[in-house]
């Protein structure tokens, strides 16, 4: 059965790694629903967060192939209930409709806020799950949305053992002593 899986991978920050990882999906004809790459608190280590709709057995194979890459330190996969996850969305609304009294109620309901106000538009930011982003979009639609953008997913696992502690102990390279 296909489900939403979030794959996280920790890698060295080297040129081409994004390509190296995405071709693993391409080759198996798996579509990436969302992809976020960012630096971690560990210098030189980057984190990939990849969301796919797939069967678990296929996800396991993909994760094994990612972890097999010589520059990937660790790859794991999670179901939605095993992580806390968010995406961020920005909505650009014309100022004249935005000052309508109802918008304040909508923002409060979503815990969204205005991050920029100019003479012709306002920008609203919201953080939440995919459904929240879409629900807010529908509610703002009558106001006339000039621009809309959403990020990929970021997530933190609920597991107790933290990977960074393990990574901290490893030297990047060791050489054979003469």
């Amino acid at each position: 059965m296909k489900e939403t899986y979030t794959i996280t991978a920790f890698s060295e920050n080297h040129i081409g790694l994004l390509n190296r990882i995405t071709i693993i999906f391409t080759r198996r004809h798996i579509n990436i629903e969302s992809l976020t790459v960012s630096s971690t608190e560990m210098k030189g280590i980057h984190r990939f967060t990849i969301v796919v709709e797939e069967e678990e057995k296929q996800v396991i194979k993909v994760v094994n192939q990612i972890e097999k890459l010589t520059e990937v330190l660790r790859a794991e996969y999670y179901l939605n209930d095993e992580i806390v996850y968010r995406e961020i969305a920005l909505y650009k609304i014309p100022i004249d409709t935005a000052i309508n009294k109802n918008i304040e109620q909508i923002l409060r309901e979503f815990n969204a806020h205005m991050v920029d106000i100019q003479d012709v538009y306002v920008i609203i930011e919201n953080t939440g799950h995919i459904d929240d982003t879409e629900k807010l979009y529908e509610m703002l639609k009558p106001y006339g949305i000039l621009q809309f953008v959403r990020s990929g997913r970021i997530s933190i696992s609920k597991q107790k053992k933290e990977l960074v502690n393990y990574l901290k102990e490893l030297p990047i390279n060791e050489y054979v002593k003469e």
Binding site: S11, E12, I15, G16, N19, R20, I23, R27, I60, K61, N64, Q65, E67, K68, T70, E71, V72, L73, L167, L170, P171, I172, N173, E174, Y175, V176, E178
Partner: protein, 567 residues
Amino acid sequence: MKNTAKITGAEAILLALLEENVNTVFGYPGGAIMPVYDKLYDKSHALKHILVRHEQGAAHAAQAYAQVTGKPGVCFATSGPGATNLITGITNANLDSIPVIFITAQVSSTLLGSDAFQETDMISLSMPVTKWNYQVTRAEEIPDALAKAFFFATTGRPGPVLIDITKDAQIGLTEFSYKKIKSIRSYNPIPELNKNDVKTCLDLINTSERPLLLAGHGILLANATEQLEAFVNKTNIPVAVTLLGKSAISEDNPNFVGMLGMHGNFAPNVLTNEADLIIAAGIRFDDRVTGDLSRYAKKARIIHMDIDKAELNKNVKSHLPIHTDIKDFFDEIIPAINYNAPRNWLEQFRKLEKIEQEKVIQKECFPETGKIRSGEVINLLSVKTGREAIIVTDVGQNQMMGARYYKFKDPNTLITSGGLGTMGFGLPAAMGAQVGKPGKTVILFSGDGGFQMTSQELGTIFQYNLPVKMVILNNNFLGMVRQWQQLFNNNRYAETNMPTPDFPLLAKAFGIESSMVSERHALDGALDTMLTHKGPYLLEVKIEKEANVFPMIYPGMAVDEIVLENN
């Protein structure tokens, strides 16, 4: 080695190779790689360069060189077409897990991405078919990049790596200090064997009545052939091999039961589905081995050992997956095991073997009428060479016949394109094997089709007087495809019938001794003439045009439905 005087990047490449004990390089010069060749001019005493006739030839040759010597192969090519010509060879090495270091030149870093003359994005192109690759744009990166290349290529599950080096990095100056790599934090090539797995494994073996050991290429790659033999001799567990596992155990071992897979032997295929325990050592359950997966080894519990964790549970779900270096595993289990496989289980193999002998092997290897058959040529050579030769094959019927009828004895004596099935692999691979083992008899079995794909390498064989014995089994067909057309496409021989050149004359044009044989009575003498000739020799054998390779597991069939003959 520490040297404070500055040298060019090109020289640093060569010094790094020398630091890694490389003494042979296969390659082809061109514009972007000229600085390297200029430095090579002064180092030809230490680094022997084999000038091939096409870069694909260099790639296959370097792979075969690695397989027969146990050392990584090294290959040079220039940017653009030189580099893209390597791709088939890189892919072949990748699928068969052979350590080869490919060094390609690149346009200057200032020109990257400008569609400069002979610029190709080799990093992106080779990404899916290398274990690792890296682009060097500064001379000072060269020692470290090459140290990593050798480390990645040769450790863990071996594989090809590619280092793309821009022209300005070759010309630029650097201090040279070379340090071999011992470990890299993102890469764990040596899995730690879990002792509990060994215990569980012992329990599974001890409670089994019909165990079958499947030995793959992993045995050869791990240098665990002695351990395999010791394990088999101690337990009398029947052992079958994959195509690339051929030569991992001597075929006269009393527990050897043959080859697995589509054109493997009757007994191990049939009895895979009777076994109650499968011990898969260094195999990856390729579809050519398993047939219909849903009906594969269903009566057996499966123990699967591999150094590559991603292979475990990839194709076949195992009851006990063991992530290990196979040598470590055998070293651990051999002293601990006290098991003797039931005699009647091995006898079941022998019974089925008799059937195959009667219905297939007798007709193929000892025919009395009709045209010469591939099997009899190979069987004769197996006898005449005392099983001492290195056998190289091309791909197709010649390959299956070579694997089936040469009785392999010593490790790494079959060089063949397994995973990729690359036609044109044979001739350049034979050349690389001969360079690696100059004192050994190297015999190539090729079809007429595959030989024509890379026949330009006759030039290389002539230039270095490599005493390769080339046997072209000529049926004027792309035989394996024709066989499928006969069996599954109702004899519609679409584009598989091929007129061939006068092969002996072609060899003569390159100054290579040659002859042709088409009659059975002349075959024995022709083979003797070839084997006793001092230099390279090409023998064209006109064989039965529409002979088939049997047994055969037809596509979609289960392994125990293997067909013995064409009705």
